[in-house]
Amino acid sequence: MNIFPDPIDNQVFYLTGRYQGNASIMRFNKINGRLRWYAKLEKMSIIRAWTQVPLDRHFYACGDFETAYAADNINTAEHTAAVFRMRNDGEMMWYSTFSGTNALATASKQDRCFGVSFNS
């Protein structure tokens, strides 16, 4: 769960993380906490990290998708890492997943994303 500001709109902030089992992004008014929009990502389970582009309407975020939703063991549940670019009106620009085999683990698909950065 993270809170981050909008680089071109100082009247709002975003709350990202996991809500009701899916990765989510909420955009709120700073002054009264009113929700402006809410994006629920069906193909992601959690957003762990984000990064912004200075003076731009877009941001990048990453996390992962727990494909076996009901798995209760985080060490054996299958995860696929995912990253996306979104505009500040909630429009998804692109979404991409990446995963591979894990030679050291008994479970496959143990790919998660914990950090993302933007270098101009």
Binding site: M1, N2, I3, Q11, F13, G17, Y19, K30, G33
Partner: protein, 199 residues
């Protein structure tokens, strides 16, 4: 001994005597270290987690925080939140465990640079309640410490909190110019969001 050799030796002994290293203030960082010693390890023989990671451009410091149950790292084996700073050569600049009177801050759940980039806003748990700190990045000292308590808390009403990294410190609100913290956490499995004026 130059800083490169010193940093290398410190890295070697970090796993066995980190508690001593933590208080080591005699490191001379005036010399330029040309050999980066990465990765840097911190922690002990039990569970150590990193929940907070930030880079402060002005001081060129990397800030790391989290939670440990290692008695050979923290002062005791119960849950302790920790925070430390590294320079770009991997030298430890400062490190801290925190206490709210006699209660240890049990977790540093997240952090983020303040809106002006001059201090670090830290979110965690102490005495089973959400706590907020503003850290002086250069010195590693807390400028303020806030502990939150639900107004109906009593012997029979004790909310269960789960804190994560959702903190943002806006030093100058666009509307009235005041400083505010924005926080989000779980209280009894419900998502809560708080806007709080900073002292």
């Amino acid at each position: 001994m130059n800083n490169c050799v010193r940093a290398f030796l410190l890295t070697l002994i970090a796993a066995v005597s980190y508690a001593k290293l933590w208080d080591n203030n005699d490191i001379n960082n005036d010399e330029v270290c040309l050999q980066n010693i990465w990765p840097i390890f911190a922690g002990g023989s039990s569970r150590d987690l990193v929940n907070c990671f930030a880079y402060h451009k002005e001081s060129n410091l990397i800030l790391v925080g989290g939670n440990t149950t290692s008695s050979d790292f923290a002062p005791a084996a119960n849950e302790h939140g920790y925070l430390y700073a590294l320079d770009m050569d991997g030298n430890f600049k400062w490190g801290r465990f925190f206490y709210n009177v006699s209660y240890a801050v049990s977790d540093i759940s997240g952090c983020q640079l303040s809106s002006d980039g001059e201090s670090l806003a830290v979110f965690g748990k102490g005495k089973s309640q959400p706590i907020v700190m503003e850290m002086d990045i250069a010195k590693g000292t807390s400028k303020n410490f806030l502990s939150m308590e639900y107004f109906l808390t009593s012997d029979t009403v004790t909310p269960d909190y789960k804190t994560f990294g959702a903190i943002y410190y806006d030093k100058k609100d666009y509307f009235n110019g005041k400083p505010y913290y924005y926080l989000s956490f779980l209280m009894d499995k419900k998502l809560e969001m708080v806007k709080m004026e900073a002292p």
